[in-house]
Amino acid sequence: QQQVKQSPQSLIVQKGGISIINCAYENTAFDYFPWYQQFPGKGPALLIAIRPDVSEKKEGRFTISFNKSAKQFSLHIMDSQPGDSATYFCAARLKAAGNKLTFGGGTRVLVKP
């Protein structure tokens, strides 16, 4: 049972465009929602994160939008750059379960110059 569903699986965007990745979750006990960025040959690295009591979090060109009632959250990459080409994972945490993270299926983003 996949508790965090991520879409799309892949995304191609032109340089300067907006990349949008969506995630939906089922478990209302999740208390923390991070996004990870993974480059080829590397492990995922924390990009940005949000708690469910906040509707939006922005860091530079990266923004998380969070809709608690719909149990959905999304990552927006503004002014996408070729260096943003990577695989992105959304995740959700159950702190009560030892900080266990449940990950979405991943989105491979390709930014064309």
Partner: protein, 117 residues
């Protein structure tokens, strides 16, 4: 710089072999995790450990076991490797209950790509 080190980047093993994947962290983290990464399935949790000698099953523990004899080291064991265990294996660690900031996230190793033939 904090690090999670996985002992091998690439491994090729034969069906039925016992396989050990090693992970070491130098951050005095309490919680450690083993995930496998497969295309379209994301990262799936195999096992995790709250502390030394403690372990909990994740979502897909079948065919795997773990060992945590020292705080810094968390080993994943494939008791009898099978071809459906061909995958990328990622180890991660996190501080534990003592830390809880918004940018408090896992530190991942670079992964071990295991091929079982």
């Amino acid at each position: 710089d904090v690090k999670v080190t996985q002992s091998s980047r690439y491994l090729v093993k034969r069906t039925g072999e016992k396989v050990f994947l090693e992970c070491v962290q130098d951050m005095d983290h309490e919680n450690m995790f083993w995930y496998r990464q497969d295309p379209g399935l994301g990262l799936r949790l195999i096992y995790f450990s709250y502390d030394v000698k403690m372990k909990e099953k994740g979502d897909i523990p079948e065919g795997y076991s773990v060992s945590r004899e020292k705080k810094e080291r968390f080993s994943l064991i494939l008791e009898s490797a099978s071809t459906n265990q061909t995958s990328m294996y990622l180890c991660a660690s996190i501080l534990g209950p003592r830390g809880d900031g918004l940018n408090y996230g896992y530190t991942f190793g670079s992964g071990t790509r295991l091929t079982v033939v």
